[in-house]
């Protein structure tokens, strides 16, 4: 690569290859160009790798429903019929999206309510047992969901004598288990954000006569707003994407969440899988998330790297 820009002039064959290389090195132009080209190529590859399968979903959703598995790269003819199928009465997809929004919003609000004060304490205050609390919270984002699913399933179906409830197909049956991963995620991210704010801010406020509570409310909360916002997005996405609890506890078509609903689309007969409609539903579920992610990408990346979790 490096020798391309310096050809051997006539009568100077006595220059060995090594000498040529050393002559070339300080200039480095050839190498640099090659490097830039290589990195651009790499970038292009990464983008294609990440986007192409998603693009395939969009393309597949835009075909005629009868051509669900066609492998043509451009749908011919282009059609939005699949989207009509998604939103027709039978699939109840509107209700499913509504359920998803409700569950995600309530869970996110609850985690924020509990998490914000806990995160502040963990980021700012010194107390014995802090390491234990942090370990418990991080441990919660490590354990497998299936471990709590078994007893919760037994609980919510009223299988325990000491808990005569039937919460199957009630929203709380999906909201409560979602707290198990939503709350640690929320606390962890907020703690990371609160740590980034200089402690001098509160100290100055307190010197000026603020109580710790006022300092928190008037100084810290407004400054942490971007961090809180990011945490809300991350928690919301995590709850929105949850599948196992929602599938188990909300099997009723009227209470189902959107991811569960789309995974259970059926065609006219058992052997007729509506590929196009499933893809269209996938696009409907994903596009709002993607829009959110693309608009706030800088913050989300900051949140992901600060929290380092999920």
């Amino acid at each position: 690569m490096s020798t391309t820009n310096l050809t051997v002039p006539e009568g100077q064959e006595l220059l060995t290859k090594r000498e040529l290389e050393t002559l070339n090195k300080p200039k480095k132009t050839g190498k640099q160009i090659a490097g830039t080209v290589a990195s651009l190529l790499g970038i292009a590859l990464i983008i294609i790798y990440c986007i192409l399968p998603f693009l395939w979903m969009v393309i597949s959703s835009l075909r005629l429903p009868s051509e669900g598995l066609s492998t043509e790269f451009i749908p011919n003819p282009m059609s939005v019929q699949n989207f009509h199928i998604v939103f027709n009465e039978k699939n109840n997809f509107f209700t499913a999206i509504g359920n998803s929004i409700l569950i995600s919003t309530v869970t996110t609000a609850l985690t924020l309510l509990f998490g914000i004060v806990a995160a502040y304490a963990l980021a700012r205050l010194r107390f014995t047992g802090k390491a234990l609390v942090l370990a418990i919270i991080i441990g919660c984002s490590m354990f497998p969901a299936i471990t709590i699913l078994v007893p919760l399933l037994k609980m919510f179906t009223g299988n325990y004598e000491w808990l005569p409830i039937d919460w199957m197909n009630h929203y709380q049956a999906a909201i409560i288990p979602s707290l198990s991963f939503g709350l640690p995620l929320c606390v962890w991210n907020l703690t990371a954000f609160f740590r980034q704010l200089p402690v001098e801010l509160e100290q100055a406020a307190m010197v000026d006569g603020c109580t710790p509570t006022t300092a928190f409310r008037k100084i810290i909360l407004p400054l942490a707003a971007p961090g809180i916002f990011t945490t809300v997005i991350l928690t919301f996405i995590a709850v929105w994407n949850e599948y196992m609890f929602a599938m188990t506890f909300l099997p009723d078509r009227k209470k189902m969440t959107a991811p569960v609903s789309l995974s259970q689309f059926t065609g006219d007969s058992a052997f007729n899988i509506p590929y196009g409609a499933i893809m269209a539903a996938g696009v409907v579920v994903t596009v709002p998330l993607l829009a959110m992610v693309l608009i706030f990408q800088r913050r989300i990346v900051a949140g992901l790297t600060a929290g380092g979790v999920k």
Partner: protein, 359 residues
């Protein structure tokens, strides 16, 4: 540097309260209590119940000895665990041969975890290195990289489900007729590819954040010293991104170990070639065999605890990442070292011990 003298001074002033933490303890616990209470109720109690459950067996039907309808549960000790591990009556044919269903799920779990995490880490680091080089257009790349992450796992499962159909686009591109979604090693490959697609970019993103904290001067200095590109990578880049990378890999490992949505949505339930422990336990739970389901989920739980422990002990994953906690751990270490030194000195020379009673 905190010297031994300072540490001793600190410990001798123990009675005096720390000005910085005066009265904060109570407030902190009040603020943390609601969160801990929620965690206790949604995680702590269910886990305990799950452990208890795993020692019981639900018997639906009539007790042969008493003739009464048995609605309750029966304590069976470790039977749920042992049955699944030893009895050959449940043998299934997975990719790795015929073995008890639990063993099969366990082997699948370990296999998926190892292969996925290795590929994802290598691919992720490579992506991060490329992205770190390209100074322009990072916004676009970052946006692209967030796409697989933001797509719900079940949607990506269905997306690959379409791609991997027998007459789907994957076979068209390869020019082969592979039955990806049949119950075979090809379906394992399908799951691995779908998982790598979804998470390798994410590892890349986290590694990139680690890369960007390395100052350019370090590389310049290395170049002046004549380090090759490979040396720069192994001696500078890797050690400096290691803390971020180890934590990311730890979380990816634990995430892959509890994998459920992807094989469930892509290949389906009761497919032994891709069945993971989560899927098997889920299958038992919805069949109302709560005892075995709980036992399998507890096995997975213990496995995950073991892996997390190994990561933290062997690779030094700093999961908590809190300065105060870190400082306390460091101090405890110093005190222990100091104590050891003193013991040694005491043994060597009995006269030096006076006045050194710290630790």
């Amino acid at each position: 540097m905190v010297t031994a003298v300072e540490t001793q001074g600190a410990s001798s002033r123990k009675a005096k309260k720390n000005a910085l933490s005066d009265g904060q303890g109570t407030l902190a616990w009040i603020l943390v209590a609601p969160t801990l209470a929620v965690i206790l109720f949604v995680v702590g109690i269910p886990i305990v119940l799950s452990v208890i459950e795993s020692f019981y067996k639900t018997s639906n039907g009539i007790d042969p000895t008493t003739g009464m309808a048995e609605t309750g549960t029966k304590f069976v000790g470790l039977e749920n665990y042992l049955n699944a591990l030893t009895s050959n009556s449940t043998a299934v044919d997975g990719v790795f041969g015929s073995m008890p269903r639990l063993m099969n799920a366990f082997v699948n779990n370990v296999w998926f975890t190892v292969i996925c995490v290795v590929i994802e880490t290598i691919l992720g680091v490579a992506m991060a290195l490329i992205m770190a080089r390209a100074f322009k257009g990072t916004g676009l790349v970052r946006a692209a990289i967030l796409v697989p992450w933001a797509i719900p796992t079940i949607v990506s499962a269905k997306l690959w489900f379409v791609i991997f159909q027998a007459d789907g686009v994957a076979n068209k591109i390869l020019g082969k007729e592979i039955l990806w979604l049949g119950d075979s090693s090809a379906s394992q490959l399908a799951v691995i590819m779908a998982d790598v697609w979804k998470t390798a970019p994410f590892i890349g993103l986290l590694t990139l954040a680690g890369l960007q904290t390395i100052p350019a001067e370090v590389y310049e200095a290395a170049k002046v010293d004549g380090a090759t590109a490979w040396q720069q990578f192994t001696r500078i880049t890797l050690p400096m991104v290691k803390p971020a990378l180890v934590v990311a890999v730890l979380f990816r490992t634990l995430d892959t170990m509890r994998m459920f949505d992807l094989p469930y949505g892509l290949i389906g339930p009761n497919k032994y070639s891709v069945e993971t422990l989560s899927m098997f336990a889920y299958n038992e739970a919805v069949s109302q065999r709560y005892g075995p389901a709980a036992a399998y989920s507890i096995l997975l739980f213990l496995l995950i605890c073991l892996v997390a422990f190994l990561f933290i002990k062997l690779l030094g994953a700093d999961v908590v990442g809190d300065d105060e906690t870190r400082a306390k751990t460091a101090q405890r270490k110093r005190m222990r070292a100091l104590h050891k030194q003193q013991v040694k000195r005491t043994k060597a020379n009995q006269t030096i011990t006076s006045g050194e009673s710290a630790a």
